[in-house]
């Protein structure tokens, strides 16, 4: 089995006090595609390089199934980890042809006959739609083709674990979108346990089974794309995944948060009255309604301050009447509101997600 377990990994660079990876623990299920997501400097690439064996951790263990790859004093070198990696730069060898690049990893599979080797290279090149390019050199290929050579080189060895380090960041927007689906398709076809590093939340959401959001060398939250989007646990995760409104307030009742006169009822909450609470409210979960005649729970009058037309929707910035609370709201393109116009907002109690660390 190829489930990966990281236990308490820690690494500091060059005697710095701040750890690049700080007591990080994570499990990746057999055949799962897990994205390591975070801003630059969060330790996601360091984590990947620790898993690959290019870096030695100061503390912690790395297990694949029942095989220990790294523990203090016992570190398996990269070449014996049965992994493959796709690099951000692709790292194609410029002095080798496409076929030689793809076939390189097979040289180390001793039990593979020469004929079988060539068959597998040809088959792999067909899968990535590069049949006929065997004799080309990487310098003679377009960016997208180089990318596919890198993919083929990694998959042809049938690795237990596949590591990807921001493999799409060098492609232009259209190709990037196309390759997202391509990578997902290949993952479904081969079912290899995969660790995917990216700083692009949209990419992570399209590609992965689960996402681990990293912050300052630690895991902030792990979950399916849905769970992370719907129930972010911290302000950092809420703001990093999708757009959101964070409302800082004080618990007025076990299920009510108040911010400058605005009282929001939160579904299923049990706050200690008087405690500080932060809520995440996604802009698309706020309904635009008629201005309320009489006060009602979670319905407010508000004034449009700014509106931006985005084609299929409108993005509004509104101020709730009688408070300083500014919210982002998404409205349908069919009904356009102008700045200065007064509208009603209805926020479903289940759309208010309490965040840790208010």
């Amino acid at each position: 089995m190829s489930a990966v377990r990281l236990k308490g990994l820690t690494l500091r660079y060059g005697g710095v006090d701040v750890a690049a990876v700080d007591n990080l623990s994570l499990e990746i299920g057999d055949g799962e595609l897990l994205a390591l997501l975070g801003p630059s400097g969060c330790g996601k690439t360091t984590t990947l390089r620790l898993v690959a064996g290019f870096l030695d951790p100061e503390a912690g263990e790395i297990w694949v199934g029942d095989r220990c790859l790294s523990a203090p004093g016992n570190v398996v070198p990269p070449e014996r980890r049965r992994m493959a990696m796709i690099f951000q730069s692709y790292a194609l060898w410029p002095h080798l042809t496409v076929a030689q690049n793809v076939g390189y990893g097979l040289r180390f599979k001793r039990d593979l006959a020469r004929a079988d080797r060539e068959k597998r290279i040809a088959e792999m090149l067909r899968v990535v739609q590069l049949a006929g390019y065997e004799a080309r050199y990487p310098g003679e290929l377009s960016g997208g083709q180089q990318q596919r050579v890198a993919v083929a080189r990694a998959l042809v060895v049938e690795p237990e674990i596949l590591l990807l380090d921001e493999p799409l960041s060098n492609l232009d927007a259209n190709l990037r979108e196309e390759m997202r689906f391509e990578i997902r398709r290949l993952h479904e076809a081969f079912g290899i346990t995969t660790l995917y590093v990216t700083h692009d939340q949209a990419e992570a959401m399209v590609i992965s089974d689960r996402i681990a959001v990293l912050q300052a060398g630690r895991v902030a939250q792990v979950g399916t794309p849905d769970a992370l989007f719907e129930r972010p646990r911290t302000r950092f995760v809420a703001e990093f995944i999708g757009k959101t409104n964070v409302v800082d307030g004080v618990a007025a009742a076990p299920d009510v948060v108040e911010h400058g006169g605005v009282r929001l009822t939160v579904a299923g909450a049990r706050f200690t009255p008087g405690a500080g609470v932060a809520l995440s409210v996604r802009p698309h979960q706020i309904d635009l309604v008629e201005p309320p005649g009489a006060p009602a729970p979670n319905v407010f009058a508000a004034t449009v301050r700014r509106s931006s037309f985005l084609g299929d929707s409108l993005d509004y910035e509104v101020t709730i009447t009688g408070s300083d609370l500014v919210l982002r709201v998404v409205g349908p393109a069919t009904r356009r509101l102008a700045p200065g116009q007064v509208v009603g907002l209805r926020i479903d109690p289940s759309a208010c997600v309490p965040l840790d660390g208010a």
């Binding site: 690959a52 064996g53 290019f54 070198p77 990269p78 070449e79 014996r80 980890r81 992994m83 493959a84 990696m85 690099f87 951000q88 730069s89 790292a91 060898w93 410029p94 002095h95 390189y104 990893g105 040289r107 180390f108 599979k109 080189r153 060895v157 590591l163």
Partner: protein, 553 residues
């Protein structure tokens, strides 16, 4: 950890043998006398009128060489980098030829061209005008400055041409669109951006002129004046005054260190000159009617540096008497027979030179490759210090290094004087910075990802080195080999101090032959040296797939 230890011990030992011990001896010798420690040698060097004059002559020579080099190199660089002057490839090729021509060969050639009595140009002048006086006398300070500068200006050219090539026309356009006229743009944008390169080229030229031994020895001595380098050399004549040689070496060493520090600081702070090579295109200025005159001006410079000197060397090599007109009765191959088969010293010297060239280049190329790999991949703690040490010998002028090695290795525990080994050490030390610079650039150009990609697919560290790193670094290492080889076969200023009758090299023999007036043999040896150099340069260009001039920083 043990891996790091090997490198450390190796680097430390190399440093001690190549630099620390010789320089320590040099310093000790400069303050020692039979009566104990003394500053008497320094007092002698700075107060003796003849010696003070030689120090001053060196300053004058170096300063003017710097200025003349700018006057030649800057316009040439601008013309080839920024205008549509015809024959750009030819001009660049000739600048390269001037760059690799051993300056002392140029000096010999100009002795034959512009010596006051027998010099070809002067004979032609007298023949045409009937005048009794020579047109030019090369045995003068201006003559010396001229001959040094025509082989030194490529340093300025390289600095400026490479900088101009990086300045996108955008930067100039940005100023134009804001209302600056053509001259204002040149004054406020282009010139300030090129200024660090100009000053840097000036400093490099000055450094060359300071350290040069051959040309002053050939042209200044007959003219009756000394420079520091010729003075150092004369201290080795009987009765030797090694202490004085050590003392007079110190200002040269100090000046070199200060100038290099200045240059580094200048380039470091004004590094923006190299910024912005991306995206912008570089437009060429149309010279219009000035295209042909500009080309002729370039060719006139090249006539002085290449055509005339090479021509007279070829003429001398194939003539019975070099000063007589070309003709069938004056044509001979006797000079070749004499040089290769009859005169014992030349054959031994050619063998010695080739042996030293190949051994130094091979050992050196491997050494700098290992050092550059270790420093680039940060394989050991303190890799920055290793890099610094590899560059350090650049501050030691050849003749100073030779004096230091002479002192260090003529006494126990290491008596190397009189062997080829001492020349090997001198050459290896002297060429290390050039070789290291080349290797460093090579490994910098191989991203570590390429090696990691091999590792993760199942190749061990050594296998990756063999399959991936070595093939990618090959051409760069060949280039380093060639640079070291070229440096060795033309070396004179250290060899002239360290040779003994059994360990003469080509440059030293050329110098000896001059005393005997054997101009034909000098010309033959000179042509052999040039042929070796140009073949090696061709190999580099092929290996790197580009022009050597662009490679220098």
């Amino acid at each position: 950890m043990d891996r790091a230890l090997v490198v450390w011990v190796g680097a430390a030992l190399a440093l001690v043998f190549l630099m620390a011990m010789p320089l320590a001896w040099l310093t000790v010798m400069s303050v020692s006398s039979e009566a104990g420690t003394t500053l008497g040698h320094y007092r002698y060097v700075f107060t003796d009128p003849a010696l003070a004059k030689s120090l001053w002559n060196t300053v004058v020579l170096a300063f003017w060489v710097g200025l003349v080099s700018i006057a030649i190199g800057a316009p040439l660089a601008w013309l080839t980098a920024r205008t549509d002057v015809p024959g750009q490839g030819l001009i660049r090729g000739l600048v390269l030829a001037s760059f690799v021509t051993p300056p002392f060969l140029g000096a010999f050639a100009w002795e034959m061209l512009a010596g006051p009595n027998a010099g070809l140009l002067n004979k032609v002048w007298r023949g045409v005008t009937g005048s009794d006086h020579p047109l030019v006398n090369i045995y003068t300070m201006p003559g010396l400055i001229f001959v040094v500068a025509i082989y030194t200006f490529p340093y300025v050219y390289i600095m400026i041409a490479n900088t101009l090539a990086l300045i996108a026309s955008d930067l100039e356009d940005a100023a134009s669109i804001l209302g600056a006229g053509r001259l204002t743009v040149a004054r406020t944008i282009t010139l300030p951006m090129v200024l660090p390169a100009i000053v840097s080229g000036f400093i490099l030229s000055v450094l060359q002129a300071l350290a040069l031994f051959g040309s002053p020895a050939i042209l200044a001595l007959p003219a009756g004046f000394h420079t520091i380098t010729t003075q150092v050399w004369s201290f080795f004549h009987f009765p030797p005054k090694i202490e004085a040689a050590a003392a007079i070496s110190m200002p040269l060493l100090g000046a070199t260190a200060v100038l290099l520090w200045l240059q580094k600081r200048l380039l470091g702070r004004r590094g923006y000159a190299a910024v912005g090579g991306k995206g912008g295109t570089r437009r060429r200025i149309a010279l219009g009617a000035w295209r042909v005159p500009a080309l002729l001006a370039c060719l006139a410079v090249m006539a002085c540096a290449i055509f005339l000197p090479y021509g007279i060397l070829a003429k001398a090599a194939f003539s019975r008497a070099w000063a007589q007109p070309v003709g069938w009765d004056n044509l001979t191959l006797a000079n070749f027979t004499f040089t290769f088969f009859e005169y014992g010293a030349t054959r031994a010297a050619i063998v010695n030179t080739l042996e030293l060239g190949v051994i130094t280049a091979s050992v050196g190329a491997v050494l700098v490759a290992v050092l550059a790999y270790v420093t680039n991949r940060r394989l050991v703690v303190g890799h920055q210090i290793v890099a610094f040490l590899a560059f350090a010998p650049v501050v030691i002028p050849g003749i100073v290094l030779a004096v230091a090695l002479f002192i260090a290795y003529t006494r126990p525990p290491f008596v190397l004087y009189g062997t080829l080994a001492i020349l090997f050490i001198a050459y290896l030390t002297k060429e290390m910075p050039v070789g290291y610079g080349q290797s460093d650039a090579t490994f910098r150009g191989i991203p570590p990802d390429l090696e990691d990609a091999g590792r993760i697919l199942g190749a061990g560290r050594l296998r990756v080195l063999r399959d991936i790193t070595a093939p990618l670094a090959k051409s760069g290492i060949i280039a380093a080999w060639c640079f070291i080889f070229i440096g060795v076969i033309r070396e004179l200023s250290a060899s002239i101090i360290l040779f003994t009758p059994n360990t003469k090299v080509m440059s030293v023999v050329i110098f000896d032959l001059k005393e005997e007036g054997q101009f034909g043999a000098i010309a033959v040896l000179g042509l052999v040296m040039l042929a070796l150099t140009f073949v090696t340069v061709a190999i580099v260009q092929r290996a790197l797939g580009r022009d050597v001039l662009g490679a220098r920083e």
